[in-house]
Symmetry: C2
Subunit: 514 residues, 2 copies
């Protein structure tokens, strides 16, 4: 068995059985090893950002890492932006990167580059395999590093000669580091704050607090104490609808966020850091909770957040079960197509168990509130602000959950970054319905220009924030990659087409002209 | 004047007047400054790899840097692959990256990342602006660093508050470092080698040796001594056709390259390092020139290579002018569409002054020989092996040379990496004819699999090297981005459509089904 085989078999033994790949010449022995390994699924992306974004979506839904396989420094670099998002989502991922044969590096061949320097900003763990015999063990350690609760990015660089040379057996599975234990004093402090402030206290949640277990107990705590529940602006994953309690989402713009946080005398952090402004603005603070408020950290993302919430519920004497909030789906919208009617249409029609990947930017804002009374579903957001995450992440979520409908709710400007994901959806026959919000502009940047005091932008500023001239026609591009598509221009049309699209299996796309 | 304005005006004063941009919130003051600066052209790319690849193409053709403008670490990361190619091409580029306001960094907002670590592998010069007053001077130094002969990549990170705060006047233009002087002994050594080996000597050329001045004198040296002329496998820019001498291109695969170099007793290097294998293979050497041959470096890429060649010509007593090699265009091909007929069609029809960007991979191989007798034209290659360079580089070349026809000769797999470049071509009405080689596979990887001994690849290996299922339809995708397109399936059809496309102005695309 060569190094590549020992490494791929080690991954399979550890339960890692999906590889999102765009390999090159230096990864050919790994491709052969994937080929030989029964039970390992290889999914081709036509751009590395598709592979890393898909690995993120897969990890968020499956709760375990996939492999990515990319080609030396430049190939890996194409995947960095979505690894940045994955890092912010605390998603477990193992990146496998081929490098030149060890003896060939000194030749400084054209594709030679400093892979470690590129990988460091997005990797919690990096290693370069020193020899073929080390490959299996390196993979076992990479998987353990990626599995460090709740998840981390591990990057393993494997020179081509370490892949093709003879090596030993696969390495045994390593246990991943468990979440940190919660200190009892953190439970007591949080309980005291919530008791003291009651309805003026806020449970601010992220990471595992937004899972089914965390939210169920958060609902019980709210039922007992009247505290309010709020999640991060861009959560990695939220379980919503059905019996899940209503959780507000912190607004994006700092003025609105500060206003939303202002009523609370105390904030208890569960799986999320104290919220900060997405960007710094002149004369605006970084920290969004007013300075004089009491803040307590119940648990960070790296802790057993759901367990901490359960202990907090016990401490507070919360009931064993909270009454589900009464909420209904909105009616099917009619009339003009706009953010409100689009949000309502999705909320009105999405099936039980849907996974909604929201990279809809400004158009997406009304959806979260509108879908409050929708059936049980999962909501995924753009965690790191690196646009181009939605279509790949939806792709990976669909690989992880073949029995659930995935809805990719996608802004046009961001969608253009990694549109190649549609091809992978078509090849893998993934059950993804993509909704493109075609407003022909980087709307958020036009808002930001105005916020920067540029209320009458000149020709170049208008040009740099406009996607018109020429207008992009997604209903032509998507079929070019094997995904059938339609265009809609009214809410009535959207309802009709969305109902049809959701009833079909396999990828399809609806372009919404706003 | 704020920091952003002082910096943009400094660039304009230095003659840097094109900015390939995909800005975000942290670059809004720079967008406003671009808007206010008369004579600065702002070109939007819908993905950062388009911007950096376009800056490379612009630099190769204009001989001076453009700016790129990207958004923090992840936005910049999307441009790294094409900066890797630009670094290998020695193209001058100034990257301008916005960062969070200095005081906001400690908040670790979602888009915060280690930009320097990402930029280092592709940048000869990096600086983070320390205050608004430093911005103008930093830009002047960045431009000087980029102008270091023949060109380098300079990366300037400007925190948002250094952009929006009041600053001083623009900074004066700095002189860029000149090429290193050539040592007389290098001239004499090279002359002696060529005299001694005559027709068994090879002038192996890269960088400025492949410019009009360098090639004219190389032709004179060959006329006098019988030495052969050969260029790197992937040259940044070669002036070809018309009165330019015939220059062979080193083959890609190492066995063929070794065979091509084997006849020569001596190799004189002019602007290129001693050639190395693109990848390392088991039992194959890194260095392609047989060990016992004599090698002399006349000039490296960083030297005044054309000047060195002129002194070498004097030393050898070369004639003042070489007789142009007689060569004719091939006839218009008929019959099946294949690499040979495609190469012949382009060579038969390309107009005088055409710029051919060749990222056609395996399909492109016959073109270089076929176009030997074409009218004067410029040939650009994929220098760093990071695929996805062709469409962006063609875009930038067309911005630099609005009066010349650009032909983007493009493999399908590589083209899918940065297809968003087509939109920029449509917006800017650039005179680019794109020829997509749709063979529905990563053909080079299928060859590499066979070279790695995998002659009967399994299902997954076939799947990871195939672009079929679904087949990509570029003739639908391109119009979706505003570029009219047709499909051809025979050489006769290609000739007809290429003749039409070259006669038009503005972007168009021909998809060749091979």
């Amino acid at each position: 068995m060569n190094g590549a085989e020992s490494l791929i078999r080690t991954a399979l033994d550890a339960g890692v059985n999906v590889c999102f790949a765009n390999p090159g010449t230096t990864e050919m022995p790994l491709v052969a090893a994937l080929d030989a390994a029964d039970g390992m699924r290889a999914v081709l992306g036509l751009f590395e950002g598709v592979c890393t974004g898909a690995a993120d979506g897969y990890a968020r839904m499956a709760g375990r890492p996939a492999l990515t396989l990319t080609h030396l420094g430049p190939g890996f670099a194409n995947g960095i932006a979505n690894l940045h998002n994955a890092r912010r989502a605390h998603s477990p991922i193992v990146n496998l990167i081929g490098d030149h044969a060890t003896w060939h590096l000194k030749a400084d061949a054209p594709l030679t580059s400093d892979i470690e320097s590129l990988a460091r900003p997005v990797s919690a763990w990096i290693r370069k395999t020193a020899g073929p015999g080390a490959a299996a063990n390196d993979m076992a350690e990479a998987i353990a590093a990626a599995g460090r609760w709740p998840g981390a990015i591990a990057t393993l660089i494997v020179p081509a000669d370490c892949q093709w040379s003879e090596a030993g057996a696969p390495a045994p599975v390593r246990a991943a580091a468990a979440p940190r234990p919660i200190d009892s004093s953190a439970i007591r402090t949080a309980a005291n704050l919530i008791r003291r402030h009651g309805a003026k206290s806020l449970l601010f949640m992220g990471a595992a607090a937004l899972g089914e277990r965390g939210l169920a107990v958060a609902g019980r705590i709210a039922a007992k104490t009247g505290c309010r529940l709020m999640c991060e602006t861009f959560p990695a994953r939220v379980e919503r609808g059905g019996a899940m309690p209503w959780v507000e989402k912190l607004p994006y713009f700092p003025e609105q966020a500060i206003e939303a946080l202002n009523p609370f005398g105390a904030v208890v952090l569960a799986g999320a850091p104290a919220p900060v402004s997405f960007f710094g603005y002149p004369n605006a603070p970084s920290m969004l909770i007013p300075e004089d408020r009491e803040i307590a950290t119940l648990a960070t993302f790296a802790d057993d957040t759901a367990g901490a919430l359960e202990r907090l519920a016990d401490e507070l004497g919360a009931p064993a079960r909270a009454t589900a909030a009464e909420a209904k789906r909105p009616p099917r919208p009619t009339g003009a197509l706009n953010p409100a009617t689009i949000g309502a249409a999705i909320a009105a029609l999405m099936p039980e168990g849907a996974i909604v990947m929201d990279e809809a930017a400004t158009t997406g804002l009304p959806f979260f509130g509108a879908s409050r009374g929708a059936p049980r579903h999962t909501y995924l957001a753009l965690t790191g602000g690196a646009i181009g995450q939605g279509l790949p992440c939806a792709t990976g979520a669909a690989v992880a959950c073949p029995d659930r409908k995935v809805i990719a709710f996608q802004a046009d400007g961001s969608g253009m970054y990694t549109l190649q994901a549609l091809w992978t959806q078509a090849r893998e026959k993934l059950d993804v319905t993509t909704l493109i919000c075609n407003n022909r502009r980087y709307r958020i940047l036009q808002v930001e220009l105005a916020r920067a005091g540029i209320t009458e932008p000149g020709r170049k500023a208008r040009s740099l924030t406009s996607l018109a001239d020429p207008e992009i026609d997604w209903s032509r591009m998507a079929p070019g990659m094997g995904v059938p598509a339609v265009r809609v221009e009214t809410a009535d049309d959207l309802v009709k087409q969305l109902e049809r699209a959701l009833a079909e299996r396999g990828p399809n796309l609806i372009e919404m002209l706003i």
